[in-house]
């Protein structure tokens, strides 16, 4: 039906190859087929989510160029989009990104104190990563969890009703977590 199906490109930059696994590529193809023919650009946001998650944790220029190639887009069309949306990271981030909501409803329920406590506890400011590469701290705007604030997301997992004590526990639990336990359902697995 769809003739804009993509093939398995090998994309090599600076001797590093950037490419989805065969399984992910199948998912990407099925995502593209959700949009009318010639509208494969519509798949850009979901594909960038998958790319960020599976190809290094952030959107390097190489990764963006690879996505452009896959979706038959101009690289600029991908950069434009990647720079617009706050969930896309353009630089290396820690293994766990702590995104703390600092918008009004969370702020009046103790959100500002929680944020300050994380800074003190991890000795980093917002936008920074701990030297061991484990945690990056970010302030974000309303996460749609205002009734259970202060809220925070760690790699898109919700953590709600945060207190100073609670975040310490979350951080310590994450430190303990092994690779296997740590992998909650990824972007590609969300889609049927």
């Amino acid at each position: 039906m769809q003739d804009n199906k993509i093939k398995h490109h090998l994309f090599v930059r600076e001797n590093k190859s950037v490419a989805f696994s065969g399984k992910t590529l199948e998912k990407v193809n099925s995502l593209i087929s959700r949009y009318p023919e010639g509208r494969q650009k519509s798949a850009l946001l979901p594909v960038l989510h998958i790319a960020q998650e599976e190809l290094g944790g952030y959107l390097s220029v190489d990764v963006m160029d690879y996505v452009a190639l896959l979706l038959n887009l101009n690289p600029m069309e991908v950069y434009e989009v990647a720079t617009f949306y706050s969930m896309f990271y353009l630089e290396q981030v820690g293994k766990y990104v702590l995104e703390v909501c600092h918008t009004g409803p969370c702020a009046i329920c103790g959100g500002e104190e929680v944020l300050q406590h994380i800074k003190d506890y991890l000795h980093i400011d917002t936008g920074e990563t701990t030297p061991d590469g484990m945690f990056t701290l970010k302030e974000v705007e309303c996460l749609g969890a205002c009734g259970s604030g202060p809220s925070m997301q760690v790699n898109t997992e919700f953590y709600e009703h945060m207190t100073a004590k609670q975040v310490e526990k979350v951080i310590e639990d994450l430190r303990q977590k092994t690779e296997e336990e740590g992998s909650s359902k990824g972007w590609a697995e969300q889609f049927s």
Binding site: E77, H102, A107, C146, G147, S148, F158, Q190
Partner: protein
């Protein structure tokens, strides 16, 4: 007033699964609509019901549907707005998490009425876990012939796809949402043309909120006439309120429209009163974009009548002494809350979320944020207050999309009702 027609099944164990939902009468409305009614009849029932958009503006849903360009030979689209990013609003998330099949049932009926064969649910990317929940529900519905080809043996076919955003409040605005769905930056489009004529891929498109579309299922189930008798006056039916802030019981509540605000705040059935026995100071009743009201004006209108949770009653008194029902994001502030700090906080939000296309919004939100920051941090001047009012006025009505207004109203209303507090910060 505790009549639940959307969330009545929400607490049934396992209701997220197709079988359980079906066993409790789920998809009966879809069956009724598709097997016993024509698309025009379904639309007629929605018109009769008086259902109004639950995404913020309260526009009559049936009327909006009647604007759809039906002469065009191009495909038509229904887009479900699940971007839910308005601070204080978390009702759609609750509905989708608890009752994904209710939304799908509403989408089937709405698509049938509109002659749509492809429907997208645009959901904010932060709700990643809901993507999986919705996709599972869609797969189940398809397996049971409520989606896919020739639904229930009729000639009607429908596919529903979930499409994630990636963190941008502005993508809740319907034309920005369509841009985003096309894989672009979320820059709102100039209207007209309206989406009903030129929407997704330049095709006729209807964009409705999650709660609006879910409500179509009970509307068809009980009939538009019966639905219209629920509620109060032109605010028919029930509304999901998401309550947060300094209250004892934050959460999502379904109310029959017409419930007095006072009951909503103080009754144990809903917010359960102000936390720690404090006094009520102010409320933003419809998401951060609508005007804030001080305690006396949220409980009673300036004419001394009890304020009700309806579109009309909350707007009573205009912007002088009223506000809006908006998205139903109900933010409560106790006596200790600092209005100046809160106004600065919300303005920072709008500054951050402005797409930057129009200078009044891009520059104005920046100006307001800097001035409010200065006041909040003890460096303000008395003239700053009127300057803020002026900047807000210059944004209002001078922008491509209503985000500009949404940024201006909180500032203007905070100064209108709490000027003394701003002055005290400066003195």
């Amino acid at each position: 007033m505790g009549r639940a027609i959307l969330l009545d099944k929400a607490n049934i164990p396992g209701i997220r699964a197709f079988g359980v939902y079906r066993a409790h009468g789920g998809y009966n409305a879809a069956g009724k609509g598709l097997l016993e009614m024509t698309p025009a009849q379904v639309q007629q029932e929605v018109i009769k019901s008086g259902l109004r958009g639950r995404g913020g503006a309260g526009f009559p849903t049936g009327l909006k549907w009647s604007f759809l360009d039906r002469k065009s030979t191009r495909p038509r689209y229904l887009v479900c707005n699940a971007d839910e990013s308005e601070p204080g609003t978390f009702k759609d998330r609750y509905l989708m998490e608890k009752l994904p099949h209710l939304l799908i049932e509403g989408l089937i009926l709405s698509s049938y009425a509109l002659g749509v064969r492809t429907c997208y649910i645009y959901i904010r990317g932060e709700f990643k876990y809901l993507v999986g929940i919705l996709e599972t529900a869609i797969r189940e519905a398809k397996k049971n012939n409520y989606l896919g080809e020739k639904i229930l043996g009729t000639d009607f076919s429908l596919e529903i796809y979930v499409h994630p955003g990636a963190g941008a409040y502005i993508c809740g605005e319907e034309t920005a949402l369509l841009e985003s769905l096309e894989g672009k930056r979320g820059n709102p489009r100039i209207k007209p043309p309206f989406p009903a004529y030129k929407g997704l891929y330049d095709c006729p498109t209807v964009v409705n909120n999650v709660e609006t579309l879910a409500a179509v299922a009970p509307v068809i189930g009980m009939g538009g006439e019966t639905y219209s008798k629920l509620g109060f006056g032109k605010s028919t039916g029930t509304k999901l309120m998401s309550a947060c802030g300094n209250i004892n019981k934050p959460g999502v509540y379904e109310i029959e429209m017409g419930l007095p605000v006072e009951d909503f705040i103080y009754s144990d059935e809903y917010c359960g009163g102000i936390k720690n026995g404090k006094m009520l100071k102010a409320v933003i009743p419809g998401g951060s974009s609508v005007p804030i009201l001080p305690a006396d004006l949220i409980l009673n209108t300036s004419r001394g009548e009890a304020r009700l949770l309806t579109y009309e009653s909350l707007a009573e008194g205009g912007f002088e002494s009223g506000s809006m029902l908006g998205s139903g994001g109900f933010i409560v502030y106790d006596e200790d809350a600092c209005i100046v700090r809160n106004t600065w906080n919300l303005t920072r939000f709008y500054r951050h979320e402005s797409c930057g296309q129009c200078s009044p919004c891009r520059e104005g939100t920046g100006w307001m944020e800097r001035i409010l920051y200065r006041i909040e941090h003890g460096k303000g001047r008395m003239s700053d207050i009127d300057l803020l009012v002026r900047v807000a006025k210059n944004i209002e009505g001078n922008t491509i999309c209503p985000l500009g207004d949404a940024a201006a109203w909180p500032v203007a209303s905070a100064i209108r009702h709490f000027r003394g507090e701003f002055e005290a910060h400066i003195k």
